[in-house]
């Protein structure tokens, strides 16, 4: 246990990601005087599921939120290094943040449907982008709800208030809402942490189906979940990336002692 407390001088990062869609390059992030991320280097493969694991406060959510610049909302936050999505530096001064957030969607820990109808929730992203043709909206709503495995449950009550859905349905609605704007990457910040086991299984099934079309990055506290659904896993500790590898390797033959301690449940 004691050996993990020190600096991690030499993280093990698997180098050969052939088709990276997101590249994080020497990223450090500060909240005021507190440093939350230290020199993170990471490449996220396209159309795969990548899981971020690590104990609370290790910076995995912070990293996730900096991938679509939601950390901009925190006034004291400031970064060094850069992040490229499809090759473009998203922290460049002239980069269009609104467009970035359409391309890199986000599903949050606590489901947050808008106080509108189910239909309007899913159509919201298109509407604010200026799409008002009802044929396009109808099609997109159905497609997104099907992709999020919610269509059969809500197709007869699309005009009902979204807040009347159960917790798991609300979370899948939020996934559908994110998919409706056809992002390239979907970020998920502990999407199942507030759900019961059955709802969790539904969401996991949904994620497995989505990876054929989308790149998914998921933060999770649930190691079994990471092992079940992800292709790659990144382990963070105290703001540093410790190890990044294929999930199977990570959970069976971790390269570093710290990783092994964590995934086998010896600390965390």
């Amino acid at each position: 246990m004691s050996e993990i407390r020190g600096e991690i001088d030499d993280p093990f990062v698997v180098a050969e990601i052939e088709n990276p869609i997101v590249e994080v390059d020497k990223l450090s992030l500060y909240y005021g005087d507190t440093q939350a991320l230290y020199d993170v280097d990471l490449a996220i493969p396209e159309r795969e599921v990548t899981a971020f694991i690590g104990p609370s406060g290790c910076g995995k959510s912070t990293l996730l939120r900096s991938l679509n610049r939601l950390n901009d909302l925190v006034e004291s936050a400031r970064i060094e290094g850069n992040v490229r999505v499809s090759g473009a530096d998203i922290y460049a001064p002239d980069y269009d943040v609104i467009d970035l957030r359409r391309r890199v969607g986000m599903v949050f820990q606590k489901s947050n449907p808008f106080p509108k109808s189910i239909y309007e929730n899913v159509a919201y992203g298109l509407r604010i982008a200026g799409e008002n043709r009802s044929s396009v909206l109808d099609e997109s709503v159905e497609k997104s709800l099907r992709a999020a495995a919610l269509w059969d449950e809500v197709k007869d009550r699309l005009k009902d208030n979204a807040l009347g859905l159960s917790g798991g349905q609300q979370q899948r609605l939020c996934i559908a809402r994110t998919l409706a704007v056809e992002p390239e990457v979907v970020l998920m910040d502990e999407p199942c942490s507030a759900l019961d086991p059955i709802a969790t299984v539904r969401i996991e099934e949904t994620i497995s189906e989505l990876k054929n079309d989308y790149t998914i990055v998921i933060v999770t506290h649930n190691l079994q979940q990471a092992a079940r659904i992800s292709d790659y896993t990144a382990f963070f500790y105290l703001g540093r990336l410790v190890e990044f590898n294929q999930t199977q390797q990570m959970f069976t033959q971790p390269h570093l002692k710290q990783t092994e301690d964590y995934v086998t449940g010896r600390f965390g």
Partner: protein, 534 residues
């Protein structure tokens, strides 16, 4: 044991419970007193004729009964005897020990008059143009009814001549005077002046004709009189035209009494005040109050919400914003009369005075906007309520969960789209609560109005059928001020007391109605935006 008693919190439960009970008691006491005194005012209760041991006869309505000071077992009753013109006073105390017997004579009649308050007595005879039409109780009663109707029609004619024809002439003359003045100020051309003089003469001629007609109708009003015998045997005569309403309370059945009650209640709500506001209706005050509250909300609500939006959503949260917030909170606690002083100095004299100098120089020295008016009063009250709106809106905005904001931004909303589509709808119930509180506070405020435009009597409403319809420079009446004025400033406080209670009751009802509407709206919204159930 005692330790467990204290720790268990039982005393605390009792403390909180009794605090609530005490509050409820105070409030229900307030409402109860107003209801008790206000509801029965229009009920035509029986007139009692008291025969006293010393031979006096007193006729009147019992209004109060109390122990005689220093004589614990003896009571005295207060009677409203009316006939102020004959007795000098409306009320009289009679010791119960002095009463020999009490009757409720059926033929006794109540006259509500335009002047001198009520008259109670027996019908003697009725005369028109010095001819006696009837000279016996019930015959007089029957002969009186058509005359009353005729006089009501005549009053209608007089009112329409005064308000419409004369009013129009007055306005035309005033416009002409101002036009002349303007010409003089610009250096008058004689021919233009002469033309105006001609128009002036024409107006005066029309005025003469209208006054003649008016005087003719007025003369007809003088023709009929009814003479009555008071309880003590004296005779008095009453002009039929002065009678507002007459009834025989002791002869009326329950339905008749209910009819009179409703009629008087309606007159109270919809009629004009009489007798320096102590009788008649309060419609101008009612109208003024409602219109002022609306103007105030129109000014305060949008500004308050917009200011709060900037403060909460756009401004960089730091020392300066904190200071602004503290200042706003303090403003919400500043005594209202201070706002009144500011309104008088800034709106009335400053803004109003400048408007007068720029746009109405010909009317000076008579001020147009440079004097109290409904616009300035509403703006002053808006200033008073804006802090409440800001504070409440800010709190409602702060209560919108961060996840909801991030969800909207995460889908590619701009900040404006997030605020407009997600934050505002979610915060709306809370914002409405603040608006209700603010409006209720504004509706009940009197002190700042007294120096910015409320008057005792303003028969011309600030909204009428004449261009430009809204006369925001006009002074207006207000229920709160009406209560103060009638209750404490009127020459006959005792007679005005029922009016005070009924007006207070009406003010309570209005505030209740405003709040209920707003609460219903808010609950509808709240159901629509009910928070997520987890």
């Amino acid at each position: 044991m005692t330790l467990r008693f204290w720790r268990g919190g039982d005393p605390f439960i009792w403390l909180t419970g009794s605090a609530l009970a005490f509050c409820l008691l105070m409030i229900s006491g307030l409402v109860g007193i107003i209801l008790y005194n206000g509801v029965g005012v229009f009920w035509p209760s029986a007139l009692e004729q008291l025969y006293l041991r010393d031979g006096q006869v007193v006729l009147g309505k019992v209004v109060d009964r109390q122990v005689i000071p220093d004589q614990p077992e003896a009571y005295r009753i207060q009677l409203k005897v009316g006939n102020r013109d004959a007795y000098g006073l409306d009320f009289r105390w009679v010791d119960e020990a002095d009463i020999e017997r009490i009757e409720q004579p059926a033929p006794v009649v109540v006259f509500e008059r335009l002047e001198w308050g009520d008259a109670y007595g027996y019908l003697e005879e009725i005369t028109q143009n010095d001819q006696v039409l009837a000279a016996d109780g019930q015959d007089v009663w029957k002969a009186l009814q058509p005359l009353l109707e005729a006089s009501a029609t005549r009053w209608e004619v007089i009112r329409s001549i005064e308000h419409e024809e004369m009013g129009e002439l007055n306005r035309a003359m005033e416009d002409l005077r101002l036009e002349k003045r303007r010409l003089e100020m610009d250096g008058a051309k004689p021919e233009a002046m002469a033309e105006l003089e001609d128009r002036d003469r024409a107006l005066w001629e029309r005025y003469e004709r209208v006054s003649e007609r008016l005087n003719a109708v007025r003369a007809e009003n003088e023709q009929a009189t009814v003479s009555i015998r008071l309880a003590d045997g004296r005779e008095r005569s009453v002009r039929v035209a002065d009678i507002v309403r007459t009834y025989q309370p002791n002869a009326l059945g329950v339905w008749g009494k209910i009819g009179i009650y409703c009629e008087k209640g309606w007159e109270f709500v919809a009629g004009q005040p009489r007798e320096s506001n102590t009788e008649g209706g309060i419609f101008p005050a009612l109208f003024g109050t409602v219109m002022m509250v609306m103007l105030m909300s129109l000014a305060a609500v949008p500004f308050g919400i917009l200011a709060a939006l900037y403060l909460r959503e756009y401004a960089k949260q730091g020392l300066f914003v904190r200071l602004v917030r503290i200042a706003v909170n303090n403003l919400a606690g500043v005594p209202s009369i201070v706002f009144g002083m500011f309104g008088l100095g800034f709106f009335v004299y400053g803004v109003g005075g400048s408007i007068d100098r720029l746009f109405y120089p010909e009317a000076l020295p008579t001020p147009t906007y440079g004097t109290g008016g409904i616009l300035w009063a509403s703006l002053t009250l808006a200033l008073l309520t804006v802090p409440v709106v800001i504070v409440a809106t800010e709190e409602a905005l702060a209560a919108v969960p961060r996840e909801l904001r991030e969800g909207a931004l995460g889908l590619g909303s701009t900040k404006f789209q997030m605020i407009w589509n997600v934050v505002l709808p979610s915060a709306l119930p809370g914002i409405l609560t603040g608006v209700i509180l603010a409006t209720a506070r504004g509706a009940g405020e009197v002190a700042p109005l007294m120096i910015t435009g409320v008057v005792k009597l303003a028969p011309d409403l600030p909204l009428d059928a004449y261009w430009p319809f809204f006369h925001l420079e006009r002074k207006f009446m207000h229920l709160g001020f009406h209560i103060y004025d009638v209750g404490f400033q009127s020459p006959n406080v005792e007679a005005a007391r029922p009016m005070v209670y009924t007006t207070a009751l009406l003010l309570l009802l209005i505030v209740l109605a405003l709040n209920l509407t707003a609460i219903v709206v808010r609950n509808k919204l709240r159901r629509r935006y009910a928070s997520t159930a987890f």
